[in-house]
């Protein structure tokens, strides 16, 4: 049997299991409608019942990184006399969301099974 089958490549370790969570939530929320940074932070807060909150100033670094990757696109719009940058998900962003959501679901199920004491054996 080839070594690769006997010893499958392990999953990526999750040294910080919150890593990727801001991206996941941003990509999910922006599928509903375009939003600007402040709106996004408030939406995350309200939809998670204040359990998860992204640093108010930090959200833009996440948005800009996703935009550089092509997962988001932005456009400037005038709303109520103020110029705002609205973000929307791209096709690549949807794929990225599915990957992140899949990883997160697998991870939470694994953690839940440990918490509940279930065994895979």
């Amino acid at each position: 049997m080839p070594l690769t089958e006997r010893y499958p490549v392990p999953r990526d370790p999750n040294p910080n299991f919150m890593a990727g969570v801001p991206e996941l939530m941003i990509l999910r929320l922006l599928q509903q409608r375009e939003m600007y940074g402040y709106e996004l932070v408030q939406a995350i807060r309200s939809q998670t019942g204040d359990v998860v909150s992204i640093g108010e100033g930090i959200v833009y670094t996440v948005l800009h990184a996703l935009e550089r990757e092509g997962a988001l696109k932005s456009r400037r719009m005038q709303v109520d006399g103020r110029s705002r940058i609205y973000y929307a998900v791209t096709v690549r962003g949807l794929k990225r969301y599915q990957d992140l959501a899949g990883s997160w679901t697998t991870l939470t199920q694994a953690i839940q099974s440990v918490i509940r004491g279930k065994s895979h054996a």
Binding site: Y38, Y60, T61, I85
Partner: protein, 246 residues
């Protein structure tokens, strides 16, 4: 307060070499976000001063906001990544290209008039020749030096490459320049329109080597001294601004 509260973040990012376009956008969005926070806090009953202080605190500290950008690997500016290219290679390359464009442009423009001399040369042709000589001999070097200084100040760069760039520009623009000469027929020599790309001083129709070398040396020293003084003065002024100590 609102306008200046994020200037330390801007300075911190520029000093870390982050490209100015990324810095400007980040700070502009933070500014908008802070305005929304201030409006919310005011609506909840705080006075403007308190609302601004609270909004600034919610946004994150200067260090956190700078760190967040660095940790995300936001692109650094080319001048920060490769100062040798921006201040070393680029100005000299641009200078050579501009000299060539001016020289070839002049050749094609003056070709129909090259045998004319004296009053036979139309006035507008003389004006074009004088303009090309001024631009080609006295404007390109200083403009490139000014561009280098502007890039260095805008991106808060204090690299030795800035000084090197100013020296390269002075060295390259000292001996070179596009000259259009309207030569009068004299001493058996035919007149006409002549062009050259090297600074040369003529004495009775012949190149005066000594004066030419002195002229070139003076041009190099004057341009370097003026651009160095301007850079030093403007850099000092920028550093004295209250928000420059991020």
């Amino acid at each position: 307060m609102l306008e200046h509260s994020l200037e330390k973040v801007r300075e911190g990012l520029l000093q870390k070499g982050i490209a100015p376009r990324h810095v400007n956008r980040y700070v502009a969005e933070l500014h908008d976000h802070m305005a929304d926070l201030v409006a919310r806090e005011c609506a909840s009953g705080l006075d403007m001063r308190e609302a601004q202080a609270k909004a600034r605190a919610i946004l994150g500290t200067d260090a956190q906001l700078v760190r967040a950008v660095i940790d995300r690997g936001v692109p650094r500016s080319l001048a920060a990544k490769a100062p040798w290219a921006v201040f070393g290679i680029l100005p000299v390359t641009v200078m050579i290209v501009l000299f060539m464009l001016l020289a070839f442009g002049s050749m094609s423009f003056f070709l129909p008039y090259r045998a004319l001399s004296g009053a036979a040369i139309p006035e507008y042709v003389r004006a074009v020749g004088t303009t090309i000589t001024i631009v080609g001999s006295y404007a390109i070097g200083p403009l490139l030096a000014a561009a280098c200084i502007a890039i260095a100040l805008r991106q808060r760069l204090s690299s030795g490459w800035v000084w090197a760039g100013l020296a390269f520009i002075a060295l390259a623009s000292g001996p070179f320049g596009v000259h259009i000469n309207f030569v009068q027929p004299a001493g058996g020599m035919t007149g006409g329109i002549r062009g050259s790309v090297i600074q040369t001083v003529y004495e009775q129709g012949r190149i005066d080597l000594g004066t030419t070398l002195v002229t070139i040396a003076v041009r190099i020293v004057v341009l370097f001294a003026l651009s160095a003084l301007a850079y030093r003065f403007l850099k000092q002024r920028a550093e004295e601004l209250p928000h420059a100590s991020a």
